[in-house]
């Protein structure tokens, strides 16, 4: 909610001209969600400091339909950090309050506006999401000296550690317009969040504000990716427009991907392979999520009937959108059906299919609820073939980033070793009159096996 800009040149008072803001009084501007104030905490012969302070309306932030509060931070509460932090709302306010200064125009001090001048800028409570030193990585290449002070979460509870908020001090010799534009772009980049929906004109905004400094920035890809809210089509467009050889590195990354294909592709292939072997014509994908497997099933001419189920209606909506179901012909629509269902309830609609796939599903269900899942799948739906995949916990040792004993995904309720999994599968097979065969998916390690394990059940 606060930025200060200090200038200590020969005539510090010139800062008022450069910013087009009179140093003698508080000037206020209406924003749609509150007010912005400009005032001068310091005004002396040695140094002049201007402050931009936001006074945001917490209630308006919640109720304004054009404001998008990040669910990660607010849970739709009046209690959220936006009124206090220096985020994309601050960028928006800068664009409004310092519009002329950001263009670099200054009729009364044109030479000063065009020159690099000694500046010190402080930013209060900047939300930073990412590794320690991110602000330095972003600002130092631009010629700033960066001082970072992390705010503790709560001094009364030192064991909680630091918050994600940083008080930043930038010192350097830059043109004022460049300094303002850099902050304008990098605030939402550090936060990795924006208070509005990113639309197509965002690319143009980025290119204009990044003029003269962004295209040569070593973290250019990172900056445009975050600034453009990780929208792939936009980042590609932005990169094309900023002529630079960085594109080549991206292509190389894509190439590397092709030689070692991602596990999720291998997993899908293993599942499809099993379905083909079993000559499954009708398939239920239980826990289909956004429909990654459905897409492949749908493209497979040997599969005539496909049902995708998920416990979340929202997820099914997304799958429907991703698969463009509404645009399909009636015949195609009949081939693929989406149903809300749950693996822990018996569902008559899922009976009579050749195969059922539970790809990376069981580990998202509490152990104590697995008997209900088995009853629903093996006992009630009773497909001829059941394909289950789940992580192999032993292989986790080979993931350097994964702390010992922790899971690959925050929602995993358990991860099984090969023997854990095999014990469960053989119990199920015995109880429900199936046979079971185990396979590994992904690169095989002699000691730890494969990253994913697959069980293929056949009804006796």
């Amino acid at each position: 909610m606060l930025i200060t800009i200090s200038y200590s040149g020969p005539e510090p008072g010139d800062l008022g001209y450069l910013l087009h803001k009179h140093p003698g009084r508080v000037q206020s501007y209406d924003l749609s969600v509150g007010r912005a104030h400009v005032f001068y905490p310091e005004f002396s012969d040695e140094r002049c400091t201007a402050a931009l302070m936001l006074e945001l309306d917490a209630l308006e932030l919640v109720s304004n339909r054009h404001i998008r509060l990040d669910a990660r931070k607010s849970l739709d509460h009046y209690v959220n950090d936006r009124p206090y932090v220096s985020s994309s709302i601050m960028s928006m306010a800068m664009g409004k309050v310092f519009r002329t200064a950001m263009t670099g125009r200054c009729d009364s001090r044109p030479d000063l506006a065009a020159s690099a001048i000694p500046l010190e800028i402080t930013l209060s409570a900047v939300p930073v999401h990412g590794e320690v030193g991110l602000p330095a990585r972003l600002f130092e290449p631009l010629g700033w000296k960066v001082t970072e002070h992390r705010l503790p979460l709560d001094p009364a509870f030192p064991e909680w550690g630091d918050s994600n908020y940083v008080n930043l001090t930038l010192a350097g010799c830059l043109r004022l317009r460049d300094a303002l534009r850099q902050i304008y772009v990098l605030l939402p980049v550090m936060d990795d969040s924006k208070h509005y929906w990113v639309a197509d004109d965002e690319v143009g905004k980025l290119l204009r504000a990044g003029e003269r400094w962004l295209s040569t920035h070593p973290a250019r890809g990172f900056i445009s990716n975050r600034y453009l809210a990780h929208r792939r089509s936009m980042t590609t467009q932005a990169n094309l427009l900023m002529e630079n050889d960085q594109d080549a590195t991206q292509d190389k990354a894509a190439e590397a991907d092709q030689t070692s294909r991602p596990l999720k592709v291998l997993r899908t292939e293993a599942v499809m392979g099993a379905l083909h072997e079993e000559r499954a014509r009708s398939v239920v994908d239980m826990g289909c999520g956004e429909g990654a497997l459905l897409k492949i099933l749908f493209a497979d001419p040997t599969i005539s009937t496909i049902v995708g189920t998920d416990v979340s209606a929202q997820m099914l909506d997304r799958a429907e959108e991703r698969l463009r179901l509404r645009e399909l012909s009636e015949r195609q629509q009949e081939r693929l059906q989406l149903l809300q269902s749950s693996a822990t309830y018996l569902d008559d609609r899922l009976r009579g299919y050749d195969a059922m796939v539970l790809m990376e599903v069981i580990e998202h269900i509490d152990l104590e609820r697995l008997p209900a899942l088995a009853a629903a799948v093996f006992g009630h739906a009773q497909p001829k073939t059941v394909v289950v995949t789940t992580p192999n916990a032993e292989y986790n040792q080979l993931y350097p980033g994964l702390a010992c004993g922790s899971f690959r995904h925050a929602d995993h309720r358990f991860e099984w070793s090969r023997s854990d999994f095999q014990q469960w599968t053989s119990e199920q097979a015995a109880q429900w009159n199936y046979t079971v065969e185990h396979r590994g998916v992904g690169e095989h390690d002699d000691k730890f096996g494969t990253p994913t394990q697959l069980a293929l059940f056949r009804r006796v």
Partner: protein
């Protein structure tokens, strides 16, 4: 004047040429909606009643409507010529598809009459040759009606007969709804006369004997009636003796009986038809051979006269030998009889060569209690409101009876194993109980696992009838919203017989600087006619439901299981180790408070608060509340400092500086408010349970007991273990007494000034009804400082307060009432031993309601 008798529920097909007077006859004898006329349907689908081209579409529509009516159990009359065999065949199959009897009423009037009628009609006129052809078709096929499947055929041969005829509706043979018993329903006897005599004696019947000392009747002094579920004969030592006694009881009105598959076979054998003489039929036949022929004839007549199943007690009780699905109850068709005798077999056989049966009871969702036998099991147990009373007496098991309406099982052990079973008796598959350990193994096709619920029990639009608040509708999208939470996070439905309702906040305060204040709560209850309320302190923890049990099998849990504690969305609080130590401590407290004994129970269901809040919500406190506090205090301090510097040389900063200073203070107050909710806990250390209501214990729900009773009970637990159990402070207020209300307000002020969250005001009597309307079970009045962590640090700024006061509570209040009623209903159902799906349906309803978007700050 002749009376044509037809069953109350049947499909009546009027047969007759055009102009034979069918429509007039139908209009005189049936209700306005009962008759479906093909002409009307022709008109509906084509705008022309006479259009022959529209016939196909018209009959399709007519069949559809007739099907819907029959499905709903409504007598239906088809007014079409129906003179062709093919047309009638379709109607007979329609009747069969809905298990109702097809009845034909033939209007066979002279051709001249039809022609004359037709000539008089102004709206249309058929050529005489068409009518002549219809008449011929009728005459040719009329004698085949019986063979076509019509179970009753009435023929009216002249206009005079048509005009004179009237309809008499007779109850179905299965219909004994007027008979409310009380009954003693007895399972498969299989010739075990000794055990039957003992059982009747134990049930209070007095046997009567003939001159040879043979039992020929049994009379209950209180006028109770025995109901025999079939399979009286075969395998056992004295089938004739059993028949003599039962036939005597039925003949004198002391018993009713339905046939079993063994009686069905016996009749066929006695009729001299070819049957496979096995399963002990040979014994019966040789035992009967020793009886005089007149007795054999009586037996044959008795068995032949038995009706597939009986609907008793206003439709609340259905008895049949092998069970009866809801769709077949009170219906009549070959397959209904087949189901009643043999159950629903899949056509497969198991490893013993016995037919594999579809476990229909596991899927049963009907309102009527169904009592049946046929499948020998170890114990008679309830499955979704059905009970199999065949406990394998002849195989050395027990002979069982259920006293109805008392629903009490009375059993007599077999005197010996009279017949070697082909396979060992199976323990029952039960909806609310697990398979006893040691009997796991292969499960046959169609078997269901205990505790399995169907997706259709919860998904889609649901209507839940509640004892306290009428029928509560759950919309499809609400249910859809709850499915994920229920499936992915909640504990096993068998262990979650209750979810707490949301609670409405107090009406918005009239005081300028308060959003909530006790005055409005007292006023609310005074208006609702509640004179005495109790104020209970609102603990700064998480809502918790605790199920503590010494009898895990009551909840379908494995041996040694002690219970669970879960959140308001059904999510377990503890990991395995902590759960066990928590429940052990709670059990010990319950023991030393003497509550197990006093309440005569081996389980308790408690509504409580679990402290500290940080135990469950630690991450939320850190990541949301503390984060906001850190950014607010940090940034506002910087801004204040900057403004103070500016104030030195700029005159107009005053107002902004003052506002910013105030906001900095608010931020500090906010931090102080959430800090109250953080306390360290290590294992059980630091964790406290504050129970405020005992929802239920075995046999009883306690929602009708005054809150004073509940709190006193909680205090006794707290006395027993003051470290683990926390008291709930309370104060009784008389809503009609200003001084008492002021006392309540002062109490709240003191509570919240000390950092407390606030209080909940409840009717002291607990479950309260004004007129016919349910009263809010509780109203929360939250403290002024606590509300900062709900409405934001600056909610007390006048500009914010004014806007926040516009909040609307109506929807929240209505949801709170419905969720409360659903929660109570779930507990009542569980206590009454109702099937798991019914309990779960109400529990799911609470969660479904909660999926609705309502202002989360209320």
């Amino acid at each position: 004047m002749s009376e044509l008798a037809i069953p109350e529920l049947c499909l009546v097909v009027l047969v007759g040429a055009s102009g034979s007077g069918k429509s007039t006859f139908a209009a005189r004898n049936f209700g306005r909606f009962e008759t479906l006329s093909s002409d009307t349907f022709r008109g509906m689908v084509s705008n022309d009643e006479n259009s022959q081209e529209a016939s196909e579409a018209a009959f399709e529509a007519l069949n559809f409507v007739a099907g819907k009516r029959l499905e709903a159990g409504l007598l239906t009359v088809i007014d079409a010529t129906s003179v062709q065999t093919e047309a009638r065949r379709q109607l007979v199959s329609l009747a069969r598809a809905h298990d109702v009897l097809p009845v034909a009423i033939v209007l066979d009037v002279p051709l001249a009459v039809s022609l004359a009628h037709n000539a008089l009609r102004t709206d249309r006129s058929l050529e005489p040759r068409v009518i002549k052809r219809q008449q011929d078709q009728l005459r040719r096929s009329a004698r085949n009606l019986g063979r076509e499947g019509f179970r009753r055929i009435h023929t009216l041969g002249s206009m005079a007969e048509v005009d004179a005829a009237s309809i008499r509706r007779e109850p179905l043979l299965t219909d004994f709804r007027h008979d409310s018993g009380p009954f003693d329903v007895i399972g498969d006897v299989h010739g075990c006369l000794g055990e039957l005599r003992t059982l009747l004696g134990r049930l209070g019947y007095q046997l009567e004997h003939d001159s040879q000392g043979r039992a020929i009747d049994a009379v209950h002094p209180e006028g109770r009636k025995a109901v025999f579920l079939g399979d009286l004969v075969d395998r056992g030592p004295d089938s004739p003796g059993v028949l003599r006694l039962v036939m005597g009881m039925v003949a004198r009105g002391n018993a009713r009986a339905v046939p079993g598959n063994h009686e069905d076979k016996l009749v066929k054998a006695l009729d001299g038809r070819k049957v496979q003489v096995s399963h002990g039929l040979a014994q019966t036949l040789s035992q009967l051979a020793a009886e005089p022929p007149v007795f054999q004839d009586e037996v044959r007549e008795f068995c032949r006269g038995l009706v597939s199943h009986l609907v008793l007690d206003g439709g609340q009780l259905v008895v049949a030998h092998a069970g009866m699905v809801e769709a077949y109850q009170g219906r009549a068709s070959a397959r209904v009889r087949q189901f009643a005798l043999y159950g629903d077999t899949t056509g497969e056989t198991d490893e013993y060569g016995l037919p594999v049966r579809y476990a229909w009871a596991e899927d049963y969702r009907g309102p009527a209690t169904v009592l049946y036998g046929h499948t020998p099991t170890v114990d008679a147990v309830w499955v979704n409101g059905t009970m199999c009373l065949d406990t394998g007496c002849v195989f050395g098991g027990k002979l069982s009876a259920l006293r109805y309406p008392e629903r009490e099982v009375v059993e007599v052990a077999a005197e010996r194993m009279w017949f070697q079973p082909v396979k060992p008796l199976a323990p029952p598959l039960v909806g609310s109980h697990p398979r006893p350990s040691g009997t796991e193994g292969r499960v046959s096709a169609g078997d269901r696992v205990p505790g399995a619920l169907k997706i259709s029990d919860v998904l889609g639009k649901q209507l839940v009838s509640t004892r306290t608040h009428g029928r509560i509708g759950i919309r499809g999208e609400q249910a859809a919203g709850a499915l994920e939470v229920m499936s992915r996070w909640a504990t096993d439905p068998r262990w979650m017989p209750y979810l707490p309702p949301t609670m409405s906040p107090v009406d918005t305060s009239s005081l300028a600087d308060h959003l909530e204040h006790p005055a409005e709560a007292f006023e609310h209850y005074r208006r609702d006619g509640v004179a005495t309320v109790i104020c209970e302190e609102k603990h700064m923890g998480s809502r918790a439901v605790v199920l503590l049990t010494r009898n895990p099998s009551r909840f379908g849990a494995p041996r040694g299981w002690r219970g669970t504690a879960y959140t308001r969305t059904g999510r377990p609080f503890f990991d395995e180790t902590l759960r066990v130590s928590f429940l052990d401590r709670l059990d010990a407290a319950t023991e030393s408070a003497g509550l197990w004994k006093e309440l005569g129970t081996d389980w308790l269901l408690l509504d409580a608060e679990l402290l500290p809040w940080s135990f469950k919500a630690g991450a939320m406190i850190r990541e949301q509340y503390a984060a906001v506090g850190a950014s607010a205090t940090g940034a506002l301090a910087d801004a204040t400092r900057a403004l103070e510097m500016a104030a030195g040389h700029s005159a107009d900063t005053g107002e902004l500086l003052q506002r910013t200073r105030e906001r900095l203070q608010n931020a500090a107050a906010y931090v102080a408010a959430y800090q109250n909710y953080s306390a360290p806990s290590d294992g059980l250390d630091g964790i406290q349970l504050a129970p405020f209501q005992l929802l239920a214990s075995e046999g009883t729900s306690h929602s009708g007991r005054p809150h004073g009773w509940h709190l006193e009970l909680a205090d006794r637990l707290a006395d027993a273990d003051p470290v683990l159990i926390r008291r709930t402070r309370s104060l009784v207020v008389d809503t009609g007494d200003l001084e008492s209300c002021a006392g309540g307000t002062a109490w709240w002020e003191a509570l919240t000034a000390a950092g407390g969250e606030g209080m909940v005001v409840k009717p002291q009597a607990n479950l309260a009804v004004t007129g016919k309307r349910l009263v809010q079970p509780g109203i929360k009045v939250r403290g002024r400082e606590y509300l900062r962590i709900i409405y934001g640090p600056d909610y007390t700024l006048p500009r914010n307060m004014a806007r926040l006061k516009e909040r609307s509570l109506a929807h929240k209040c209505s949801m709170a009432l419905r969720e409360y009623a659903l929660g109570i209903e779930a507990v009542e159902r569980m206590v009454a031993g109702e099937p798991l799906w019914k309990v779960h349906q109400a529990v799911f309803g609470v969660l479904a309601m909660e999926s609705e978007a309502v202002d989360p700050r209320l």
